[in-house]
């Protein structure tokens, strides 16, 4: 991965009021989560639980409870209702705009990025792309016959609707950390709907 691409990504992520971290191993990611979690638990999207069971173990090893929202709609929503920190998987990070592309088809995956106060997006280090066209190519490759829900997320939720005054954290998270993790990989599993519907 070209370092200048990551440098570009970092400056755009920071410009969007988010943070970029780089970790080689899962334990580094777990350390951050342990440091950030304030209520003794971390909500983890089902996609992450499936892709990176090691992370869940490491989080538990640090004395934290791991909540994976699953079950009926109301169970899923209740699981995340009070979450102060949630972890989701990014398929791609886009250097041009500092965005991460997150595919979250199942309700359990969606609620994590929508309802957590602090959102941690783990992106495989190899999945840093240069431009929005790369995100378009990803979307095109996954289009066709199946349902899916994918979002480019660029920084924390914000509004300027009252007197143009910028306020961070409206309906969505008010803090976003993008973690580039060398140990993470999207390659081994199907994405979006196909993954979630299995």
């Amino acid at each position: 991965m070209a370092d200048d691409l990551i440098a570009r990504l970092r400056s755009e992520v920071e410009r969007a009021s988010a943070a970029l971290l780089e970790e080689d191993h899962w334990d580094g990611v777990a350390d951050h989560l342990a440091q950030w979690a304030r209520r003794g638990s971390v909500v983890v999207a089902p996609v992450v639980a499936e892709r990176a069971p090691q992370l869940l173990e490491q989080v538990r090893d640090r004395g934290l409870a791991v909540v994976v929202p699953e079950g009926t709609d109301s169970e899923v929503m209740a699981a995340v209702a009070d979450a102060d920190i949630g972890v989701v998987a990014g398929e791609l990070a886009v250097a041009e705009s500092g965005s991460v592309l997150v595919a979250e088809h199942a309700l359990g995956d969606r609620v994590v990025s929508m309802l957590s106060r602090r959102l941690v997006v783990v992106v495989p280090r190899e999945a840093v792309a240069a431009a929005l066209e790369d995100a378009a190519a990803w979307l095109a490759a996954h289009a066709g016959g199946t349902a899916w829900f994918a979002s480019l997320m660029t920084g924390p939720s914000r509004t300027a609707d009252i007197e143009r005054s910028l306020t961070i954290g409206v309906q969505g998270p008010d803090e976003v950390d993008v973690v580039l993790c060398a140990a993470a990989s999207n390659a081994a599993r199907p994405l979006g709907a196909k993954g979630a519907q299995r």
Binding site: L107, A135, A143, W148, E163, A193
Partner: protein, 726 residues
């Protein structure tokens, strides 16, 4: 919606509207310009190339509309969505309301959707016992206040924090300090959170419909849109098929310009692609026509369907700054609202706010999809004049223009007024006595701007062949010996004749042989601008006949150049002979600034009298927006006269003279003029130069009425004053 006059009066009465919007427009301009400059630098393509590319992508889809509609429908349905096409707003409302009721849902959460505003969906849902809750913070505030959005992107831009605090106190029964905006935002989060979790239906619009994969693209900053569509079991989209794009790459081309144009951000926080329902859920996509097919079938209007609802055309609009979107527009606000309203809500709804538009062309300069908004607004005006001749406004315009278009009547009228008002004449304007100005109707019209005074001797008389003053030739130029027809312009001729004399002297100094024909009258702009295209066409033909045989045509008024070069071809579509004549001539029609900058360039320093008094410069809005002028006047003043130029803040913003606004809606023209003169004050300069006689008279009248110690001059007068004595 309330009648226009009520909305207009309410907007004027609310001081917050203009102060809030002024700050917004200034801030937006800076951030948007910086973002676009950065994008240009990064991509190596200029804004025109970038928007041309986006426009081409959208036009391609429109040219193959049925194909892409079918492709989108097939892909969305393959992903499990149901796509329904409806013709009218009523059908759309019935469909969505029926769905909600059939699913037993009493609560609907809504992301921002202009189509739902367009069709009035909330009222229908409520009538059917379904409660719609707006979840965009601005829309939610307006819903609580029982108001409509006043801007496409910032719906509550007209509200101050104190007003929101008071509203929240009233509705929520808690106290809110007006300066604690974060707290107001947080309360919206808590109040709305339960609704998201409880709603049975999520409603959204669409920023794009991607045919390639059947995805609905939705952008938002708050996260409300994705929660509205992503959490409830039923997601209903209402959108126009104009939102179709062919591929995800096309969607990204739109994304790149959308947020930059809307809020000056590089990208919105969330750009969601929703394809089919979530597991166990349902998704319905309702494609609403409501006039769109008719727009597509009309070649002059079809480009309006490229609109990506960024709101940029409102963010640069000077009259919008004064009255906001409740008056400037209908459901759709800003320049695009002056166009598409005619198709979505009818010609009468579109007619009311037309006179607010000053035809400055600022909207077209920033539109990221390159919609020819000013030309389309004029198309709509023309249709109002021809299809609604019985409207009072149409009748008044018809009578006034008929008098104006008759040369002898115009001449006799201005001469008569000149004679009667002679005692009130002061430096080209009428000093209206204070006791008269105290009368509300008079004050409203002339209290803020002393009206231009007609001259007793028009320019055409002053420039009779034998009465022309001798002017020493300053240099051999590319125009030396050329027969240059001086097109006086109707306003200059009768209201500012010295400007024509100065223009003639400058031309002679460059060695031109100046011809002034008495057959000339008006280029047709006022008639064209009023939508009276038959009259305008006659005037164009007459003008072209008066120009016959000249090597070049030069006028002190760039407005006439813009009219003849850019608008007249539209009028001559059915008259190929005259159009060909115009085509031959059009490269040779210049305004004096353009001529002096180009072929008639005088030697550097040749008008330098040693006077170093700083001047500031207002460029006619269409010189910037239509003719693409940048620093020509500044260069002339510095290079020829050697005087320093102090940059005018917001130099490209209109002065308020344009269109018929200063007559029909004087409050708006007054507000725009105030903004301009306040900017002039900030420069500290005591001399203000401009290139257009209309602007000159307007600015001079404003300076006079406000007792400013400001000399306002047409640049031709300024330069000619510095010609060496013969």
């Amino acid at each position: 919606m309330r009648p226009f006059q009520e909305r207009y009066a309410a907007a004027l009465a609310d001081e917050n509207v203009r102060t809030g919007l002024l700050a917004f427009q200034r801030g937006w301009r800076d951030t948007r310009d910086a973002q676009i400059a950065e994008l240009e630098q990064r991509t190596g393509a200029d804004f025109d190339a970038l928007r041309g590319d986006l426009a081409a992508r959208k036009d391609h889809v429109r040219a193959h509309w049925d194909h892409y509609l079918d492709a989108f429908t097939a892909a969305a349905e393959a992903a499990g969505a149901t796509v329904t096409r409806v013709t009218t707003a009523e059908e759309a409302n019935a469909y969505v309301t029926g769905l909600a009721r059939a699913r037993g849902s009493e609560l609907v959460v809504k992301g921002k959707s202009m189509v739902s505003e367009e069709i009035g969906l909330n009222d229908h849902l409520e009538a059917a016992g379904v409660t719609p809750v707006e979840t965009d913070l601005g829309e939610w505030i307006l819903q609580l206040a029982h108001e409509h959005p006043s801007h496409l992107v910032m719906p509550a831009i007209h509200k101050r924090a104190e007003q929101v605090a008071a509203l929240f106190e009233r509705v929520l029964g808690r106290e809110f300090p007006a300066d604690d905006i974060p707290r107001m935002v947080q309360v919206a989060r808590t109040e709305l959170r339960e609704r998201f979790l409880a709603a049975g239906v999520g409603l959204s619009g669409a920023n794009a419909l991607v045919a390639e994969g059947g995805s609905v693209m939705l952008v938002c900053n708050e996260g409300n849109n994705r929660m509205s569509v992503g959490l409830p079991p039923l997601h209903v989209v209402t959108a126009g098929a104009d939102k179709l794009v062919a591929t995800y790459a096309d969607a990204m081309a739109q994304v790149r310009l959308l947020a930059r144009s809307a809020t000056g951000q590089p990208i919105t926080v969330y750009t969601n692609f929703v394809t089919g329902p979530r597991p166990g859920g349902e998704m319905h996509i309702v494609l609403v026509d409501n006039g769109r097919s008719a727009m597509a079938a009309d070649p002059d209007i079809a480009p309006a369907l490229r609109c990506i609802r960024c709101g940029a055309c409102a963010n640069v609009c000077p009259p919008y700054q004064i009255v906001g979107g409740h008056a400037f527009g209908h459901v759709y606000t800003g320049a695009i609202g002056l166009v598409n309203t005619a198709w979505h809500h009818g010609l009468d709804a579109a007619a009311d706010p037309q006179a607010l538009c000053v035809s400055c062309g600022a909207c077209a300069a920033v539109c990221p999809t390159d919609i020819p908004l000013p030309a389309q607004i004029l198309e709509v005006r023309n249709r109002i004049m021809t299809q609604r001749p019985q409207r009072t406004d149409s009748r008044v315009r018809a009578v006034a223009l008929r008098a104006f278009a008759t040369p002898w009547l115009f001449a006799a009228g201005t001469r008569a007024v000149a004679t009667v008002t002679e005692p009130l004449r002061e430096d080209g304007v009428l000093a209206v006595p204070a006791r008269l100005r105290r009368h509300p109707e008079v004050g409203r019209r002339v209290g803020w701007r002393s009206p231009p005074a007609p001259a007793r001797r028009p320019a055409r008389d002053r420039l009779r062949p034998r009465r022309q003053p001798a002017v020493p030739r300053l240099a051999e130029t590319a125009v030396t010996g050329r027969r240059v027809l001086l097109f006086l312009q109707c306003i200059t001729d009768r209201f500012a004749p010295t400007v024509a004399e100065s223009t003639a002297r400058l031309l002679r100094a460059a060695g031109a042989h100046v011809i002034v024909r008495r057959t000339q009258h008006c280029c047709g702009l006022p008639a064209f601008d009023s939508g009276q295209w038959e009259t305008a066409t006659t005037m164009v033909r007459h003008t072209l006949a008066a120009m016959e045989g000249a090597d070049d045509v030069v006028t002190p008024a760039p407005s006439c150049v813009a009219m003849l070069a850019h608008e007249a071809p539209r009028l001559l579509r059915d008259d190929p002979d005259t159009a060909a004549g115009l085509q031959q001539l059009s490269g040779r029609i210049h305004d004096i600034v353009d001529y002096l900058t180009g072929p008639a360039r005088l030697p550097a320093g040749s008008l330098d009298t040693g006077d170093r008094t700083p001047v500031t410069i207002h460029r006619f809005c269409q010189s910037t927006n239509t003719l693409g002028r940048t620093g020509e006047m500044e260069a002339l003043v510095r290079d020829l006269a050697g005087a320093p130029v102090t940059a005018l803040p917001e130099a490209t913003v209109c002065c308020g003279f344009g269109g018929s606004t200063s007559i029909t809606n004087p409050e708006v023209a007054e507000g725009i003029l105030d903004r301009k003169l306040a900017n002039v004050d900030r420069t500290g300069a005591t001399t203000l130069l401009t290139d257009n006689p209309g602007c000159m008279l307007h600015l001079k009248g404003g300076a006079h009425a406000s007792d400013r110690a400001l000399t306002v001059q047409h640049i031709a007068d300024y330069l000619a004053d510095r010609l060496p004595a013969s």
